[in-house]
């Protein structure tokens, strides 16, 4: 299945990815993505019937640790906020994301 990447789709992806893009970029990104996906589409020539997916290569499974507090590996509130652009009374300040137009 070949898929066309047009400006509308690029705008949609940008919204999903929370990446602000200009009107100009909509066109250049659409062309760029189409070029990249042309190479990716060649994978469809490979016979993958019945082939398992490889998500990881370590073979490790269900790696857990004891449910204990590791104080050596904890941030203080001050450390956690050290790189924030805005903090107030020891909390992160974020934009409102509910009930907005």
């Amino acid at each position: 299945m070949k898929q066309k990447i047009d400006k509308t789709l690029v705008k949609h992806i940008a919204q999903l990815a929370q990446i602000p893009i200009s009107v100009q970029e909509e066109k250049t990104l659409a062309d760029n993505f189409s070029e990249t996906l042309r190479v990716v589409d060649e994978l469809q020539q490979v016979n993958t019937e019945g082939v398992e997916l490889t998500h990881q290569v370590t073979g490790l499974k269900n790696i857990t640790r004891e449910d204990e507090i590791n104080e050596k590996n904890m941030f203080t509130q001050q450390q956690a906020l050290a790189n924030a652009s805005r903090a107030h009374n020891g909390f992160f300040v974020v934009e409102r994301v509910i009930d907005v137009e």
Binding site: L16, Q18, P20, F33, L37, V40, E42, Q56
Partner: protein, 456 residues
């Protein structure tokens, strides 16, 4: 000129009290002062060091790629979003380096977020190749490779997702070792593609790479995908006979590589002279690795970079450069509902086939060897406007990255006119860095391509 010594030489000569640590640092800092404005290797410097002569790395100046979180030293991953990011914790690998007595002399330039193979996507300007200033150092660990090539450190650390240690090492004429995935911890490394990211040493000699790997590898409770096994002593693989080892040469008949192959093929003779069995072998077409890697990496990038915004950091997502924007967005697309089957799942299936192909070859051969990169270092500006520059430059190493297998790039040819190098990529099965080091060390010591064993 103590900055020109290898890690092994500095350790030995400090032990014998022939030289002092202060003099080594003075020469390294001097080399940085004289060259950094021109080469743009370091983004941050640390001139304070503690002599630690009782520890294995003595307090020697080691360069570290700027995607390792270093407490008290700004870590940008060459991005504007992290321009003022001061890590509040230390990456496991740099902590291990410090525990062994290594001192970070500076943080090296890279492709922004490690997205690229040229350093041209860095938001702080490109690094130049010290071997030839009209050319690129490769990437993404281009700054670390250039720091080594220009003797602006004694050794360095990089990280590889697919080619990011080996390709810049090849282009700068130095040694780059990508360990088995999980051998070195990813904790505290600004993530690119979590299923392949592997920190590794970039050094002057194979011996130096073995020494550094000894100190930075091993289990890490803070990284669930790290190995549960302790590392062997990798220096035990040096100075060993390679007699009767079986070598499969792959990617020897790719269209477009004919001219480079003519330069590369004669270099394989030395393995025969040393008693190894050398055969041409056939691997699956690496063009499929390009497709798989592109999808897997962009998908993982979109997920990993979702956490970066101006809530926890000082600058917002509008500061992402073109390459990061492209990768995040395409990865968002390949993972989104309705497209994941077509792209992501298909790529993970072909990944399985590529791994099985290598596993089959490793039933017959101890190591596989290819060129590291399809050519010499490209000229400045080469990556601009290319949709898939990195993927194409890294196609010969991508399968070993996608499969987690270890590999090393060592200098195996120098062009006299341009002073540029070709890299030889030696790969082995999972957890067999010992074979990779053994073979690379034998090549290095029986040829004259390594400039630290040759000129100095």
């Amino acid at each position: 000129m103590l900055n020109k010594l290898t890690l092994k030489q500095t350790i030995d000569q400090l032990d014998n009290k022939k030289i002092t640590l202060e003099d080594i640092w003075a020469d390294v800092l001097n080399a940085i002062k004289n060259q950094n404005d021109k080469l743009n290797v370091y983004l941050a410097l640390n001139k304070n060091f503690k002599p630690q002569l009782n520890k294995p790395l003595k307090g020697l100046p080691i360069a570290v790629k700027d995607n390792f979180c270093t407490k008290g030293l700004i870590t940008t991953a060459s991005s504007l979003l992290l321009k003022d990011f001061m890590p509040q914790f230390e990456s496991t690998v740099t902590q291990k380096l410090k525990d062994a007595g290594g001192e970070i002399v500076g943080k090296t330039n890279m492709d922004a977020w490690a997205h690229g193979s040229s350093t041209e996507t860095s938001q702080y300007g490109r690094t130049l190749n010290p071997r030839n200033l009209e050319h690129l150092p490769g990437g993404s660990s281009g700054g670390s490779a250039a720091a080594v090539a220009a003797d602006m450190c004694i050794a360095s650390l990089g990280s590889e997702t697919a080619g990011s240690v080996r390709q810049p090492a090849a282009w700068c004429g130095v040694v780059g070792l990508k360990p088995t995935y999980g051998r070195t911890s990813r904790y505290g490394v600004v993530a690119m593609a979590s299923s392949t990211d592997s920190p590794g040493p970039i050094t002057k000699t194979v011996e130096d790479a073995a020494i550094l790997l000894n100190h930075i590898s091993g289990p890490d409770p803070l990284n669930a995908t790290s190995t549960k096994k302790e590392s062997p002593d990798f220096t035990q693989s040096l100075d060993k006979s390679i007699k009767n080892l079986k070598i499969g040469i792959i990617y020897h008949n790719l269209p477009g590589l004919e001219k480079i192959w003519e330069l590369f093929e004669p270099q394989l003779e030395v393995f025969k002279k040393l008693g190894a069995q050398v055969e041409l072998a056939n691997a699956m077409d690496p063009k499929h690795a390009i497709g798989v890697y592109t999808v897997v990496q962009r998908s993982e990038v979109s997920s990993n970079l979702a956490r970066f915004d101006d809530v926890r950091y000082q600058y917002g997502r509008d500061t992402f450069g073109n390459e990061a924007k492209k990768r995040i967005m395409l990865g968002t697309h390949t993972l989104s509902k309705g497209y994941a089957d077509q792209y992501y799942n298909l790529a993970q299936q072909v990944r399985t086939l590529l791994i099985k192909d290598y596993e089959k070859l490793f039933k017959k051969y101890d190591v596989l060897i290819s060129l590291t990169s399809p050519g010499f270092a490209k000229k400045i500006g080469a990556s601009e406007g290319e949709a898939m520059f990195g993927e194409l430059e890294d196609k010969l190493v991508e399968v070993s990255s996608l499969s987690g297998m270890p590999g090393i790039s060592i200098p195996c040819y120098r062009d006299e006119k341009t002073n540029l190098y070709l890299g030889m990529n030696i790969m082995a099965p999972m957890w067999r860095e010992d074979l990779v080091i053994q073979m690379a060390d034998a090549f290095e010591k029986n040829t004259h391509w390594n400039s630290w064993r040759n000129n100095d």
